[in-house]
């Protein structure tokens, strides 16, 4: 154990944690907008998967990872639009809708992947994001490499934290979102179009989760493989709650999950005696601990999960 607990190890761990937290952060910020407006979005997993897929498709056909990321966001929005239609308009149970959306995404991505690329044994690779060193900052000892030699999407993800905070707390949109999630009837009486706000928030969650998916396929790799999200969307849902529905908390939650995951991988490769299954449980148990309120009471938006019908 000694040899792994040194500075280089810490830097490497943090670096990995950062990478692992970014997709969660994207999707969780999206989930935050959705939940702040009152809609629980368990479909984040499926939307991320769609984004990962669409990002590769976009990059493949345009040759540009940036356009790929854009396509990923648009596809996320498209799937979110379906989710909004069935939860906000038709008002089906949001949890089951989310489960159905995930099922749908698994099928659709696989279907279209085959339709477009056929069946291969070697991956289709596309143009992807490569790390951008921020001049000056990236040469700082230790943190330089961890923080400032990342792909553009990483910077965007972290930039989105203050941006989301600003939107939520300093603009009339944010006020409307928070009002709709807390007290839709009150929002309605002052003329805030409740269901339109919710729909837009769900679409925003689609865009962000789509981008989170693209981060995996284009920011971490340059390819799509079936089911590549592997449960990160569910972790994002947990991060929204763990982060108490605000951007700062969600940033911290995502980082904690990232660290937990990175640590878990390292402990396993370091060959410590704990069976790996228990290490894999760790992030989930951590979430449960967080929910016991030991790290502070969580106060959900009052109208969360409640469809609004006049």
């Amino acid at each position: 154990m000694n040899d792994i607990m040194n500075a280089a190890f810490i830097v490497a761990l943090l670096s990995a944690a950062l990478r692992l937290s970014v997709p969660i952060l994207f999707a969780a910020l999206g989930g935050m907008f959705s939940e702040r407006s009152g809609v629980v979005n368990i479909g984040l997993e499926g939307i991320m998967l769609t984004g990962a897929f669409a990002g590769v498709v976009g990059s493949y056909f345009t040759g540009s990872q940036w356009l790929g990321a854009l396509v990923a966001m648009l596809s996320g929005i498209a799937l979110a639009a379906l989710f909004a239609l069935i939860t906000v308009k038709v008002q089906i149970n949001q949890i089951v809708s989310g489960i159905a959306i995930n099922l749908l995404a698994v099928g659709l991505t696989s279907f279209f992947f085959r339709a477009l690329f056929g069946i291969t044994t070697t991956p289709i690779t596309v143009n992807a994001f490569s790390p951008v060193s921020l001049p000056g900052l990236s040469t700082l000892p230790f943190v330089g490499e961890v923080l400032f030699s990342q792909t553009a999407l990483v910077y965007i993800a972290f930039l989105l934290v203050p941006v989301s905070w600003f939107i939520l707390y300093k603009t009339s949109w944010g006020l409307s979102i928070r009002t709709v999630g807390e007290h839709p009837t009150a929002a309605d009486t002052v003329g805030i179009p409740v269901n339109r706000v919710r729909t837009l928030c769900v679409l925003a969650s689609g865009a962000l989760a789509g981008l989170g998916g693209a981060f995996l396929s284009l920011g971490q790799f340059n390819m799509f493989v079936d089911n590549m999200i592997s449960g990160r969307g569910f972790i994002a849902v947990a991060a929204v709650i763990f982060g108490r529905w605000n951007p700062k908390g969600i940033l911290i939650a995502s980082l904690i999950f990232g660290v937990a995951d990175a640590l878990q991988i390292r402990l396993q490769t370091a060959g410590i005696g704990i069976p790996y299954q228990f290490l894999l449980m760790f992030p989930y148990l951590l979430t449960v601990v967080a929910l016991t309120g030991i790290v502070g009471k969580t106060v959900a938006p009052k109208a969360l999960g409640k469809a609004y019908a006049k």
Binding site: W173, L175, R178, E182, A186, V190
Partner: protein
């Protein structure tokens, strides 16, 4: 003068049920127009139509000389209509300022410029003599303060016509008086106000005209000064009212409930009740007067075991009950009409029948060998529905409590709690938001219970109710009993002073010293916040 609002032939159906049918209604500029009617008469529905929350199935709305089609409340707001709902439309976790400006992005800009908006808000409040703190969280405000926020919210949107749905149901007499001052000031400035209330004295004192609704149709529109409470009652319920009448105390020696220096702690560790000592005899009604939020809820909950006490003792017929479970205490014969029928008193999704056995579901006639005996349960429900004239829908005992009007919901609670002939009945705000017919009925049930030897602890912010029913009256302020007077010594101004925090002795002195108690209400007006927030200083009290 041309009316600012004219609604003609308005009909609104819920399914096949007509909540409003062919309603004609108009309001003049600068007028305070009262809208009266029993529970379920269609008042709120009509106002929701006006405010764009419902689309009328038939009829036309003219406002400011033009026909209007409101697709949403936003349209109504933009044309100058404001509405204050019966249940406040405020977000508790938002600040006062946020509550006032929410939904005004188009008018006030995308960025929330707090400093500037705060100034605007304070200006408006000052113009109508209201004091608010824009930075406070709404969850920390008293009901009266919340209402002020609601009014400022409407004014901030440039309201020309303000609708108020039962604004006084939750206010103290002093707060009500203050509200009316504000309303008069607003009407002096040319604003029109529609006031919905179940209290006829308020209608008489503040309104210019009255429209009465019954079963969704207008029965009359009259000038207030040409009418009387008596006449309005007839318009409203189609018969005369025979107000419940208190008889003298039956017996004063059989002690039923006794509280001995009871102290209870709130969530923040503050004392919500402090050293409260009380007693109620069999066949006696002890009225507890006080401004809402001064420990009344805690007082009731501590007796029935819903809340733990910190120190002191509680006796029921001589037996200590503090610390016992709710179930045990219920079993000892306590009936409890809670303050909030939606939150506590009923399971709204249960049927009437189920709600009627909410406390006895586990007991003999209703349960047999671990299973329900539905014959008995249904029989019981039918009996109660008949005996307490609960108006149900076609589904009868099977209809959900949610679907009943507030008055009939309250009757379910009353029937369940009173019918067993409890040793002790605790009634908290038993007629809040209930129409005069149902109020009369409920009052009679409470008096009947008393006659049958039940000790009654009546907690109400409604002084008229306290006056009408109580044998003795205690006043509670900040969790302490300020004093106790017999019914014979009831005097509204005196009680009002005690409700604002004076002990009985001081209040007597102040009340006498100022004659008629006019000074007293002025002092209250100056203090602005008669409740928790503004404790009168020595100087004020001595003045």
């Amino acid at each position: 003068m041309d009316p600012i609002l004219r609604m003609t032939g308005i009909s609104k159906y819920f399914g096949t049920f007509a909540a409003n049918e062919g309603v004609d209604f108009d309001v003049l500029p600068g007028e305070i127009h009262a809208l009266l009617g029993e529970n379920g008469a269609g008042k709120s529905t009509l106002m929701n139509v006006l405010y764009g929350l419902y689309r009328p199935d038939k009829g036309e709305i003219w406002f400011d000389g033009q026909t209007r089609h409101f697709a949403s409340s936003r349209d109504a707001i933009l044309t100058g209509i404001g509405m204050i709902h019966q249940h406040f439309m405020l977000v508790p976790v938002h600040t006062v300022l946020e509550n006032i400006i929410m939904g005004m992005g188009k008018e006030k800009g995308f960025l929330v410029k707090e400093a500037q908006l705060e100034k605007e808000v304070l200006e408006i409040a000052a113009r109508y003599g209201m004091e608010i703190n824009p930075r406070a969280l709404v969850s920390e405000l008293s009901v009266g303060e919340q209402q002020r926020v609601e009014i400022v919210k409407a004014l901030f949107r440039g309201t020309k016509l303000l609708i108020m749905d039962e604004p006084t149901a939750v206010l103290t007499p002093q707060e009500t008086e203050e509200l009316f001052k504000t309303l008069r000031r607003m009407s002096d400035e040319g604003m029109s106000i529609i006031l919905i209330t179940h209290k006829l004295n308020e209608v008489m004192s503040v309104s210019n005209r009255v429209t009465v609704l019954r079963d969704g149709k207008v029965t009359n529109t009259v000038m207030t000064r040409d009418s009387s409470e008596y006449e309005l009652t007839r318009f409203m319920i189609g018969r005369e009212l025979s107000p419940a009448c208190r008889e003298g105390r039956c017996c004063g020696d059989k002690l039923v409930l006794e509280l001995d220096h009871v102290t209870c702690e709130g969530e923040m560790g503050n004392h919500t009740l402090e050293n409260v000592s009380l007693s109620v005899c069999a066949g006696e009604i002890l009225g507890i007067a006080g401004v809402d939020g001064n420990g009344q809820k805690e007082l009731a909950e501590i007796v029935v075991g819903l809340r733990a006490l910190k120190s002191g003792r509680i006796f029921l017929s001589g037996e200590e009950i503090a610390g016992k479970s709710i179930l045990e205490i219920i079993g000892k014969g306590i009936g409890y009409i809670p303050e909030d029928r939606h939150k506590r008193g009923l399971v709204l999704d249960f049927t009437i029948g189920e709600n009627l056995i909410l406390k006895d579901y586990n007991k003999k006639p209703f349960t047999k060998g671990g299973l329900f005996d539905f014959g008995k349960i249904h029989g019981h429900a039918d009996d109660m529905i008949k005996k307490y004239s609960i108006k149900t829908s076609a589904a009868g005992r099977e209809s959900e409590a949610r679907k009943l009007s507030g008055g009939n919901q309250q009757k379910i609670v009353v029937a369940r709690e009173v019918d067993k002939g409890p040793k002790l009945l605790i009634a908290v705000q038993p007629t809040r938001g209930v129409d005069i017919g149902a109020t009369e009925f409920i009052h009679k049930q409470i008096l009947k219970a008393k006659e049958n030897g039940t000790a009654v602890l009546l907690i109400s912010t409604e002084l008229s109710e306290i006056n009408q029913l109580s044998d003795r009256i205690a006043v509670v302020y900040k969790g302490q009993i300020m004093g106790e007077i017999p019914h014979e010594a009831f005097e509204e101004s005196l009680i009002g002073l005690m409700m604002a925090g004076m002990t009985y002795e001081k209040a007597m002195a102040a009340n006498r010293g100022t004659g008629q108690g006019t000074k007293a209400s002025e002092f209250l007006a100056d203090g602005h916040v008669p409740a928790q927030n503004a404790e009168p200083t020595k100087e004020q009290v001595n003045a």
